[in-house]
Structures are given as C-alpha cells and as structure tokens.
C-alpha cells in the first residue's frame, strides 16, 4: 500500500515570504486530505493522504491559491521598534516540552491547556501589568463578557466573511425527544462522541468568542459618547480553530486575551493606540524581552485575503508585538505575535450605530495581548531558573 504523495500546482506569479507563509498556514483549511502545504520554487506543493482523490484535491488547491494570489499586492512591512534582551543567555529550546515535564502546562485536548505554578504566575503577571496599564494610563473601566457570542453579532462584525475558517460554533441537539433519545442511546456505551444524525444539531445561535472586543461594540449599540471616548479593559477566553496549525502554546484553539478597547473620535482612538505602542515598548523593557513591533495583517480567508490585507497594511491599521521564541528546526529565527495594536476605522461605529462626541460614527481600536504566548516567550528568553529573570517580575513569577 502506498503512502502519502506530494503534488504541486504552479504559482501564476511570484510570491514573497509573507504571502508564502500565509498560503502555507491557511492551506490547512483547503482539504482534510492535505497533510502539509509548502511554497517552493514557484510552486505550491502539498502532501496528500494515501487514497485521496488527487485530481479533486489539486483542483481545490488551484482555486484556493488563485484566490489568495491573483489580486495580491505587496505593501512593504514597517518595523516600528526592535529590542534586544539585556539577558545574553541563548534562547531556550524545547520550552513547551520542559513546561509539560515540570507539570506547569498540561495538555487537556487539542489546543487546550491547563497552566499552573510559575507558568500560571507568568500569565497572571503579564495580565496584571496590562490591566494596570489600561486602568491607570487610559482610565479604562473594567467589564466582563460572556464566552459565547451570538452568531448574529459575529456576522454583523463581518467575521464570517473574513475568518470563517477559524470560527468555533456552539450547537446543541434540537428539542425533540426522539432525536435526543437516539443520541443518548448511540453514546451510552462509548466515550467518543457519536453523532448518529447531523440533522440533530440546531443551527448555531452562538459561537465561542474569537476576540473580546466585539462584545464591547455590541454593548454600545445605539449610544452617543457625549462624555468622550469609551475605554474598557477586559480579559477573556478566546477561540480560534487553527486546524493542523495548532502547536503547543504557540497556537492554541482556546487561549486568553487581555484587551484595552477604544471607542471615540478618530483622533481619540488613534492617539490612544499610539500611546499604547509606547507603553508596550516600556512593558517589554520591564520584562526584558527581545521583540519587534511591525505592521501586520489578519488571516483573512480566500478572496478576502488580498483586499483586506491591502486595506489593513495600506492604512497602518494593524501592528503586532512579536516576541522571539526558540529557533525553527533549521535554526531560523522565529517570533510570535504576542500583542497587537488595531484600528478598525469607523466600521463598528457604523455597524452598531455608535456615535462619538462629535456626532459622527465612532472610530474604534484595541490593544490586545495573547497571554499564553507571553508565557512561552518569557520562558524561552529567561529560562527555568529564577535568577535569569528580570528583577521587576521575578518575585511575582517565582516568589523569590
């Protein structure tokens, strides 16, 4: 019996490293028959499972690549800030395995982890710092939000047209005795979920929140911010289905996000985002982290990729804080987006009829931190001995 095979489609135009990386990453969603996607030598190569219909899979890859590449127009990345560590010890390797070995991270499911001990302390230390930044530097008020978000809200936010591949939908069995009983019996003798009939599931009324700020905009629907900008800080669980890209603490399905959310006039929002960038520069000094802040784009899917990436990069709408993590298998430098500084123009103001104090549709923005990634980056850069950690955070992480 033959094993997986490598197939290829030709690229119709040259692609740069950023686009190639996005093609590889989003290739996870093209077909369940595909194991890996690589952009090499003017081709998109993909590994297909044994027994798959190669012609169908190839046609699907061809359509996918065409939609990603055809209209793509490169906007050069802007690097706003680069920082080297004072700690000159080499970056640790095998960090995730070491965290698991010590019991500080436990895998409970695909992309689902429990944290404890110093790993949890890091997460809490980072979060406390971000929360304090929001409240003292921005005068933010705290809010808490549900983990669920109505599908209707996500739809109005344009999420299904931009990021359908990552949505985690919440369904339940339809209210029907026979259907529920059929399901119960099918699952009575098994520990794996058996779905005897997919029609037993209701259309998902809710999803798991992919970001915490959408709740804020929905909550402000129909309001006029006569008293000035509305600034909120919140932390919550977020969910993005990452398919075969799920990796350690790098890319979880279920992760924790702290945000400072900005709603107001264009000037109120953009000046606060700039302030956020400056404050995060100081934050990475305090945490002594090797980092870059650079322009970035979200993982828009398919036809939305070229148009929305162009708009985002052209308008300087998104910058990411990238923290260095352990090198790749060939020794290549790697970093992870551990924070972002986002502007959304007045899209949410228009969508939810929120007016700023000037009477115009409000502009929005947010500053966000992905906390589990900070845990990975901090252990990678500072190691597993308290003495290697910067004094400003040592006690709160190690208790010494």
């Amino acid at each position: 019996m033959s094993g997986p095979t490598w197939e290829a489609v030709d690229l119709k135009k040259q692609v740069d490293g950023d686009l190639a990386a996005d093609i590889e990453k989003q290739g996870a969603y093209v077909s369940p028959e595909i194991l890996r996607v690589k952009v090499e030598g003017g081709q998109v190569r993909f590994e297909v499972k044994a027994g798959a219909n190669v012609a169908d899979t190839k046609a699907k890859v061809d359509r996918y690549v065409d939609l990603m590449v055809a209209k793509f127009r490169k906007i050069p990345r802007k690097v706003l800030h680069t920082r080297e560590r004072k700690n000159k010890a080499p970056l640790r390797t095998g960090v995730y395995e070491e965290l698991k070995k010590r019991g500080w991270v436990r895998e409970l499911g695909r992309g689902q982890v429990a944290l404890t001990g110093p790993a949890l302390n890091v997460l809490r230390t980072v979060d406390a710092d971000c929360r304090a930044m929001g409240m003292t530097q921005f005068g933010a008020k705290e809010e808490s939000y549900p983990t669920l978000i109505p599908s209707k809200t996500l739809g109005r936010c344009g999420y299904f047209s931009s990021f359908p591949q990552t949505v985690s939908m919440v369904t339940h069995l339809v209210e029907d005795f026979d259907t529920i009983e059929h399901f119960r019996q099918a699952n009575a003798e098994t520990t794996d979920l058996i779905v005897p009939d997919a029609r037993a599931f209701a259309t998902p009324e809710a999803c798991l929140s992919p970001a915490v700020c959408y709740h804020c905009y929905r909550g402000l629907e129909g309001t006029n911010l006569k008293g000035g900008p509305n600034v909120v800080t919140t932390v919550g669980k977020c969910f993005r289905y990452e398919s075969t890209n799920i990796t350690g603490l790098d890319r979880l399905w279920d992760f924790t996000m702290r945000e400072v959310i900005l709603v107001g006039t264009e000037e109120e929002v953009s000046t606060r985002r700039e302030k956020g960038i400056e404050l995060v520069k100081a934050q990475i000094e305090k945490f002594d982290l090797q980092a870059e802040i650079e322009s970035a784009n979200d993982p828009f899917f398919s036809a939305a990729y070229a148009t929305k990436t162009y708009a985002q990069l052209r308008g300087d709408l998104k910058f990411e804080l990238r923290l260095s993590v352990e090198p790749g298998p060939n020794g290549e430098a790697r970093s992870l987006a551990c924070g972002s500084f986002n502007l959304h123009d007045n899209f949410f103001g228009r969508t939810f009829t929120i007016n700023a104090q000037n009477g115009e549709p409000a502009f929005t923005g947010c500053i966000a931190w992905g906390l589990e990634r900070w845990v990975l980056a901090c252990f990678t850069q500072h190691g597993f001995e308290a003495s290697g950690w910067p004094e400003a955070i040592r006690a709160s992480v190690w208790g010494t």
Binding site: R73, T307, A311, R314, D345
Partner: protein
C-alpha cells in the same frame, strides 16, 4: 484641464465597485464620506490601472481619496506615459 472622460470613467468604476449612487461630490472622501469600505480600495486601484493602462504607486493612491484627486492622478500618469 483634465480630460472629462477620465472623470466619467473613474465615477463609473467607483459606482460599480462600491455599489453607491452616482452623482456624489468630486471633493468627497470616498472612504470616509461616501462610505466605501476600505476593503474595496484594492479593487478600485486594480480597476483604475486596468482601465487607464497605468501603474499607480500605493503612496500616490493613498493620497488620492476623492474623485477629483484620482482624476488628477490618472491624468498626470497618462501625461507622464505620453
């Protein structure tokens, strides 16, 4: 003085891409005032390049946010190519 047919063609492209009513002011910011989504910018840029057979830099396109300025930009690029 720019060719009036440039303006007609630019307006037709904006109406087609943004699905808005014709007859808007040539001085209106097409993204802020006419409500054209920023995601339509790339389609607008590519359509302008194809229609007028010109190459437009991203910086120049970024500064041309009204019909009037787009018409001036197209005319200047056509003049430069002539």
């Amino acid at each position: 003085m720019t060719d009036p047919t440039i303006e007609e063609k630019v307006r037709a492209i904006i109406v087609r891409i943004a699905k808005i009513e014709a007859g808007f002011s040539p001085d209106a910011d097409i993204f802020r005032e006419l409500g054209v989504k920023s995601a339509a910018a790339l389609d607008l840029l590519l359509s302008l390049e194809e229609e007028f057979n010109i190459a437009i830099s991203d910086d120049a396109f970024g500064d041309a946010r009204t019909v009037k300025k787009i018409v001036e930009l197209v005319a200047s690029l056509q003049g430069a190519a002539a």
